[in-house]
Symmetry: C2
Subunit: 567 residues, 2 copies
């Protein structure tokens, strides 16, 4: 394409709310344009990138045997009532009434639609498995839409749903999807990690996230330095350390004004690992509130998502001092013994089997030492700790560290949650009706446009990967009024096109050279060929956008040189 025939309205103006590089550069480069809060239009260059990503996703999904479908974006609320999610989806699911007063929803996801499509159409185990996917618009009425395409309200998503007659077959498909997603992110040229994830509200058992590694990522990911292990901090596990503290008789000791772990540790001369930290929270359930105490080692921190999951709460929030004392708990001296009966208590799994532990006595100014946890009855042990940098990998013994990621994909083993709720059954080998076993698999297609740039940019603009670049080569005619330069540019442009190399010719008559180079850097095409003053000597310049290195190349060789580079 020729620049003069395209619509690429680059600008120096930056949206006032744009903090992320992808948001800044995609708007400044004329890739996207804000239409409303959290709603973006794609201008021609942005649409090309979006379609490239869509195409790669589609190819790999088809290759894996999934079948493309398309669900209505507008879905009747009655479908969501069948699954019960009309009550749990909250304000993010936008609801409205049509002219006849019937309630509808802008689909934030399509589990209900797909179950509705398959229900009564697949009736036998013989017709399973089936995997249906779509690449379609979604809407989530985010409370704080921000970060451009990263957290928009209207977005493009690939959502796939598989149906199986057994858990084993679901696991097979889940693994196939993990492999398929890896191919997709690899093809896109992205540095990514497959991450063990918390299944969260969507339900089901296994779940993995796919994170594009970028310093601006919202999620903290725990990665191993010597194996493939990676997990969202919310789900990360580590190797348990076995401590052998000296065993003695449980004793109550005075600890005047000693309420922090550090002070207790100093006063009683025990390592923080030997102490017990009580985190006191207010847990919110559908039925109401309850005080919950989570115990971890003094040297550890509580991971809040793990805490929420451990008691199946909707949410946990800090308890106030008043609420703590009303519940009969002595703040600062809260321990695992002598607790009031009406509070929930969960202890981190790593403490199972521990003895000689130091904890509060539930009495002002007193602690207990040498507490033997194995002697306490009815303790609920759950994984509660936030894995720290430097912890040991449970898979290989390597060292764990943190990195930041952008969640760009998520696969779930849903099980029978939706098929049961919506009464969607098949007949098994014995003619017995059973609910479908389901998996679901999402990729944020429009979010990936932004993720590519979060991972690949510099202080001048975008640096597209080869598979996502709207054009591979920008042929820049320094001075388009110079007929020789213009002709040389046109010739190179045509030669590259003949080779099937996606090329843009910057033929703009009225744009100065500096402006053209500025646009090249901002727009981030992988390579530029500059036709300038040395043309008379048969020399042009070849620029690599990533390094911004320029090399002089003979004009007859530049096309074959580019062909080699992009192989």
């Amino acid at each position: 394409m020729k620049f003069s025939k395209l619509f690429i309205p680059t600008t120096k103006e930056m949206p006032s709310d744009a903090t992320l590089p992808s948001h800044q550069y995609l708007v400044r480069g004329g890739f996207i344009s804000q239409n409303g809060s959290g709603i973006y239009d794609f201008m021609p260059l942005g649409k090309i990138v979006l379609e490239k990503i869509r195409k790669i996703v589609k190819e790999e999904m088809d290759e894996a045997g999934a079948l493309e479908v398309q669900f209505g974006f507008v879905t009747p609320l009655s479908l969501w009532e069948e699954s019960g999610r009309d009550l749990t989806m909250g304000n993010e699911m936008l609801r409205f009434k049509d002219r006849k007063g019937t309630s509808f929803v802008l689909s934030p996801t399509n589990e209900e639609s797909v179950v509705n499509m398959v229900k009564n159409r697949i009736t036998s185990y013989k017709d399973l498995p089936v995997h249906l996917y779509q690449i379609n618009t979604k809407f989530r009425d985010e409370a704080r839409p921000r970060f451009g395409l990263m957290r928009g309200r209207e977005f493009l998503m690939k959502d796939g749903y598989s149906f199986h007659s057994s858990e084993e077959d679901l696991v097979r498909e889940f693994n196939l999807m993990e492999a398929t997603y890896k191919k997709i992110y690899t093809k896109l040229g992205l540095d990514f990690r497959v991450v063990e994830a918390d299944s969260g509200a969507i339900g089901g058992s296994g779940s993995k996230e796919f994170h594009v590694i970028a310093s601006s990522g919202e999620d903290t990911i725990v990665v191993c330095d010597s194996c493939d292990y990676a997990a969202n901090i919310e789900a990360a596990k580590r190797k348990k350390i076995e401590y052998n503290f000296e065993i003695s008789v449980e004793t109550k000791v005075e600890t005047l004004n000693t309420i922090t772990i550090e002070d207790v540790s100093k006063l009683l001369n025990v390592p923080t690992e030997q102490t017990l930290k009580a985190v006191i929270k207010k847990a919110i359930f559908k039925e109401g509130l309850k005080i919950a105490i989570f115990f971890v080692r003094g040297s550890d921190e509580l991971e809040e998502t793990k805490a929420v999951n451990s008691i199946n709460a909707l949410e946990i929030i800090d308890a106030t001092n008043e609420e703590i004392s009303e519940a009969g708990i002595v703040a600062g001296y809260c321990g695992i013994k002598n607790l009031p009966k009406n509070v929930l208590v969960v202890v981190d799994s790593e403490l199972e089997g521990s003895n000689s532990i130091v904890c509060g006595a539930n009495e002002e100014n007193y602690h207990l030492i040498n507490v033997d946890i194995t002697k306490i009855e009815n303790i609920v042990f759950k994984d509660l700790v936030a894995v720290k940098e430097g912890d040991i990998c449970n898979c290989c013994g390597g060292k764990l560290s943190y990195t930041k990621g952008i969640e760009a994909g998520h696969i779930f083993q849903l099980g029978t949650k939706y098929s049961k709720a919506m009464n969607a059954n098949f007949l098994d080998e014995n003619g017995k009706a059973k609910p479908f076993v389901m998996g679901c698999y999402g990729i944020g297609v429009s979010r990936l446009v932004a993720a590519v740039i979060e991972q690949n940019h510099d202080d001048k603009g975008c640096i597209w990967t080869k598979q996502t670049a709207p054009f591979m080569v920008d042929v820049i005619v320094s001075n388009s009024k110079n007929e020789d330069e213009a002709k040389a540019g046109e010739d190179i442009y045509q030669s590259l096109r003949k080779l099937g190399i996606e090329t843009i010719l910057d033929d703009r008559i009225n744009a100065r050279f500096g402006f053209k180079i500025g646009d090249f850097e901002l727009l981030g095409f992988p390579y530029a060929i500059i036709i300038g003053k040395k043309l008379s000597e048969g020399i042009v310049e070849l620029v690599d956008r990533k390094t911004l290195e320029k090399v002089e190349v003979k004009i007859d060789e530049v096309v074959s040189k580019i062909s080699d580079l992009i192989k």
Copy 2:
């Protein structure tokens, strides 16, 4: 693809509200599935067809130099307030509020979005023309969604919008789009007509529709039997016939109980062409109601859309007898003279210059004869007549007749309606700010899925055109439990695939032959190869879906035979 790996839930059950063949067969063939009123999901086979049509539309639009973009489906109501269409779009435009109470719209069309995109980004005539298009979901909250994909509420549309610095350049693009649309419908294998159209509410001057010819079409189209002329009945023109009636003195004559044109014609012994028919209506304007009288020859009928346009009314409806007499008009004896002053009067253009006309005297039981219309002052003449079959073509003198069409495309010369309203200007050669001159161009992509079937079906099912067929060949293994048949089917299937021919293998183990043939006929793939009893003699059958003719073919020749057929 293999039937056993696909999800093609064919059924004999018909939706109770399905009157059109496309609605019946697309649902019965498992192409689409209703999700809500006027909202359809596309199942895998339907999605393949939809994508094929989308691809052809995209290719031709790109070839014509238009640039693909994507507008938010959800648009802020404030955009529609800028253009003033928030007031005129009525209930078809679905409005809702987000969680913060801001008003939004489900886009029924995107003139406002595109003006918003271009405004302040294109500032000079040097950057014009630009044509931006998208292929995206639309929503119109139809009062009576029906006919399956034909008149749905959520649908897929290609909508393009061009921007120009002059009317001449707009006309150039308009003609280019006419040519492009012709290519698209031709590629789709459709019998279609380009039709002169009424511009209707969208505004602007020139406008053409593209109709897929089908007996079930909602629109009546006037076509010429000897030239290319075709027009929607709402906009059709014909050659004016010059009558030479004998001239005499205007006289009032008694015509007791003679109120129909036929009775008047008989009683006074004049041809119906010499009489004047008065059609009395109630016209609805923004400001209120008015009685309007439309005069056409006694031998003609009033075309209501022309009548509405002639007085710029929102709508016209029948006036009751009470309303007619209240207005001071004598029903049955209404003529062009002695009319009350407060009614609107429009006379058909073909009556301009007529004399010796017979009309009511606006007096019970009396008519006037020999009325000279040229003597009456201040008459408003407008084109009002409904062109009849047998009328003469104004272009070539050929004969006009009616046919039925499905509107599948519409192109408009919008002019400056939206750019003026939204204050979207560019600087011309003299540095003067001018509003963009605009065109807009639509194709109903999902409607075309249905239109193909309305035009191409029989009493057994769909007959896809070659370019729209989800698969070109259905290789039917009569008895998949017979290993020889299964192997022969697999071999032919693989050979066809190697040649790039889109093939489906009906390898279903548990489906009987009759069921497989029934599915072939319902699903409408252009060809089937049946591997049956004569396999042992090296013979298979080749079926043409259009004619249902079967021919025996040697198995070694069937692949090359198919290759020849689909060329």
